[in-house]
């Protein structure tokens, strides 16, 4: 189920919009938010937990830069329709796979594979080909032109 942005309370909108980056590395990050938003820490904890339980946010914490503490690649496969679900499940079962999407194209399955070293990555890619019995195309990132400022909600948070 998809929520519209207007379904979120003002507090939720602030938590979603204002803390996607530069969250303080203090011992009490949620109390810091509470102070800034003039609500209780309990209310912040409760609201974040609820957003997390509803799947609106996947987590609170660090987003690691690609290819700094591990290596990753974007992989694409062209899978016949009747095998797609099955192949997608095999791929999602790998702990090294963190995004796995069906897309409308001849290459219809796209996923990101992350590992602690390039050697480990190669082994996983090879295993995926073996287990699914389809070839994959690996497209590692060569350059990043995007400065990640988080993702702004369309409607500005109401005060």
């Amino acid at each position: 189920m998809t929520d519209s942005i207007n379904d979120f309370s003002p507090l939720e909108q602030h938590l979603l919009n204002d803390y996607q980056r530069d969250m303080s590395l203090s011992a009490t990050p949620y109390a810091d938010m509470a102070k800034q938003l003039d609500v209780s820490e309990e209310k912040v904890l409760e609201t974040i937990q609820s957003l997390q339980d509803r799947g609106v946010i996947s987590r609170v914490g660090p987003v690691f830069r690609p290819n700094k503490i591990g290596v990753s690649t974007l992989a694409a496969m062209a899978i016949p329709k009747q095998d797609l679900e099955c192949v997608a499940r095999i791929i999602s079962a790998f702990p090294e796979v963190n995004h796995n999407y069906e897309r409308e194209h001849e290459y219809n399955l796209w996923f990101v594979v992350t590992a602690s070293s390039a050697e480990h990555l190669d082994i996983v890619l090879h295993e995926i080909e073996q287990h699914t019995e389809y070839p994959l195309m690996s497209l590692p990132m060569l350059d990043d032109y995007f400065i990640d400022l988080g993702f702004q909600l369309k409607a500005s948070a109401t005060k």
């Binding site: 998809t2 590395l25 609106v56 690609p66 095999i90 897309r103 060569l142 988080g150």
Partner: protein
């Protein structure tokens, strides 16, 4: 004018070969202790009053040590962003289009930066071509409330960045099988339990069929 900038040779030139050594070059040396810390935080902080104290307990260290080492990882450039990680679909951005562009090699950076500036864009990466199967070398992610909006935004980007002569295509996502934070901390593949996944596609298919029978 844009057309004159394009050198047809650029389009056919080979991208730099990516191999294990190239990828490893960018990777920071991470201690075992930091790997354990990364593993403890990569899927999110505990939602409790003192999250770092809880992580410290798991790792058998102090709260100050956890915070100091996360600060070091940030300073070393290992952390790109720190905070709330939202899932776009649940925020009403139901359409996301991976827009791929076949850009002359000498203009990838310039155009990648131009596209990366838009607020509806969340990624702008250069990736290798895989000729003859795949000729696109710039990957951008464009979000919108529906497909028409994404297509409209892409049109705006084409006009404003002057991409009329650059071949592109939009790959809309139709299903999300998995979305979660990257897992950097798992051990070697040799130590991973093989029982986690079926050995072959045939076995997985069998399991799907069996599960489908269940009420």
């Amino acid at each position: 004018m844009k057309g004159q900038d394009m050198n047809p040779q650029d389009k056919t030139s080979q991208d730099p070969a990516m191999n294990a050594t190239d990828l490893n070059k960018q990777v920071l040396q991470i201690t075992l202790e930091d790997r354990a810390l990364i593993k403890a935080v990569e899927h999110g902080l505990p939602v409790t009053s003192r999250p770092y104290a809880e992580i410290a307990r798991q790792l058998g260290t102090s709260e100050q040590d956890v915070i100091a080492r996360l600060q070091q990882l940030t300073d070393k450039g290992a952390i790109k962003r720190y905070g709330v990680v939202v899932r776009h679909k649940e925020l009403g951005y139901t359409a996301n289009g991976m827009v791929v562009w076949d850009v002359p090699d000498d203009r990838v950076e310039e155009l990648g930066m131009c596209i990366g500036k838009y607020s509806c864009v969340t990624l702008s990466y250069r990736r290798p071509r895989r000729l003859p199967d795949w000729s696109y070398n710039l990957f951008t992610m464009v979000h919108g409330s529906d497909r028409d909006e994404v297509a409209k935004k892409v049109e705006d980007i084409v006009n404003e960045c002057g991409l009329q002569d650059i071949e592109h295509t939009i790959l809309f996502s139709t299903r999300r099988f998995k979305q979660r934070g990257a897992s950097y901390a798992q051990g070697n593949t040799e130590t991973r339990p093989k029982t986690m996944k079926p050995k072959t596609r045939a076995a997985a298919k069998l399991r799907l069929i069996k599960n489908a029978d269940k009420p």
